[in-house]
C-alpha cells in the first residue's frame, strides 16, 4: 500500500484502481455474458406468467359464457313459448298416439280433473318434443313439452319468466327433459300436483 500522501481525489482514485477483479472473476463474468438469454430461468418464469395470465383470461371467458348461458332465457324456452302461442287455436284433446307415447315412456296420464285441450308432437329447435296444453280447473293454462332422448349439455335445471308466463326446465331422467310453462292465472299448487301425478319420481 502506497503510504505517500496525495490530494484526496488522487488518493481515492488510486485506492479504487487498486481494487480490481481477479482474472478468474473476470473470466467468469465474461463467460456469463455469452450465455444466450433464452436459457435463463427468468425467461421460463416469464413464459409461466404469460401462460398463467392467458389461462386465467380463458377461464374467465368460459365462466362468463357459462354464466351468461345459465342466466339468459334458453332458446328452447323461447321456441316453446312461440309454439304455445302458435297452437293456441288448436283444440284436439288427448290424441290416442300421444297417450300411447306417454305409456311407452312411463309417464302417467294427466289427472282427469285437468282437461287436456291439445296434444301433439312438435319440434323445438330441432329437438322432437311432445306438447300438451292442459287447462286449469277454473282458469289458466299449463303447457308441458317432453323431450325424450339425449339433450344438449347447456340445458340446465332452471326457471324464469317469459312475458306473462312462468317456465321451468327440468331434467327428469337421463333421457327425459321436461319444459313446464304456465300462465299467471294457473295456480302453482295445481301445476305441482299435475307434475307429481304424471312423474312420481319428481317427488323423490
Amino acid at each position: 500500500m502506497n503510504n505517500e500522501k496525495q490530494p484526496v481525489k488522487e488518493a481515492l482514485k488510486e485506492y479504487y484502481v487498486g481494487s480490481s477483479l481477479s482474472d478468474e472473476q473476470l473470466k467468469s463474468l465474461q463467460v456469463m455474458q455469452n450465455i444466450p438469454p433464452q436459457y435463463s430461468v427468468k425467461n421460463n418464469k416469464d413464459h409461466y406468467h404469460v401462460f398463467k395470465w392467458l389461462g386465467s383470461i380463458a377461464a374467465s371467458i368460459m365462466l362468463f359464457v357459462v354464466m351468461f348461458g345459465y342466466l339468459k332465457t334458453p332458446e328452447v324456452i323461447s321456441a316453446a313459448y312461440v309454439d304455445a302461442a302458435k297452437d293456441a287455436r288448436i283444440h284436439n284433446g288427448m290424441q290416442t298416439s300421444i297417450a300411447q307415447w306417454l305409456s311407452e315412456i312411463n309417464i302417467t296420464s294427466v289427472p282427469d280433473k285437468y282437461p287436456v285441450e291439445m296434444s301433439k308432437f312438435c319440434k323445438l329447435n330441432n329437438y322432437l318434443t311432445t306438447h300438451f296444453r292442459i287447462a286449469g280447473v277454473e282458469q289458466g293454462e299449463l303447457h308441458l313439452f317432453f323431450h325424450h332422448g339425449s339433450r344438449p349439455i347447456y340445458w340446465f335445471n332452471s326457471s324464469g319468466d317469459i312475458d306473462d308466463m312462468k317456465w321451468k326446465l327440468v331434467k327428469v331422467r337421463d333421457d327425459l327433459t321436461l319444459i313446464v310453462m304456465y300462465t299467471s292465472e294457473m295456480r302453482e299448487k295445481s301445476v305441482q300436483f299435475i307434475l307429481d301425478k304424471m312423474l312420481p319420481e319428481l317427488l323423490a
Binding site: E4, V8, Y16
Partner: protein
Amino acid sequence: MFDKDELNGLYRYALSLSKHEDSAYDLLQSALEKWCKNSTLSVEKPLAYLKTIIRNLYIDIERRNKIIPMVSIETSDVSCIESIDDVSLEDILMNQQEVQQLLDSLNTEDNELLYLWAVEEYTADEISKIYNKPRGTILSSIHRLKKRIRKHAESVDLATEDYKR
C-alpha cells in the same frame, strides 16, 4: 458485452456501496445476470443502467438485512444549497491507509457519492440524474461530504501529532 475496464469500473462502483470485495463481486455478478436475461431491452447507456441495477440490488439486500442507514438525501440538514467552493479539498492530503479509514467512517450513500464525484468525476448534474434528485440537493450533499472529509482529515492530523509528541 462489457469489456475488462468496464467490468472493473462496475466492480469498483459496487465496492463503493458494499465496502467488501466479495459482496461487491456478488452484486456485480447478480446485476450482470439480470442484464443478460433482459438483453433484448434496448438501453441507451448500458453502464449507467447496470449501475442502477447494482444500486437497487444493494438496497434490496441491505433492506432485507435491515442494516442500511437510509438517510434521505433531502433531509433538512442538507437541503440548504451552499457554494461548493467554500470547502476546498485541494489542500488535504491522504495516504491509502487514511483513505481506507475515511471510507470506513462514511455511510453507504456518502461512499457512493464520493465514488461518483471523486473517482468517476461525474458532475452534480450527472449524479442528480442517477439519483433522480434535484441538482441543488446533490450540490448540498457534496458540500456536506467535503466538510466531513475535512473534519476527518483534521482529526487524523491531530491524532498523528499527538502520537508524535
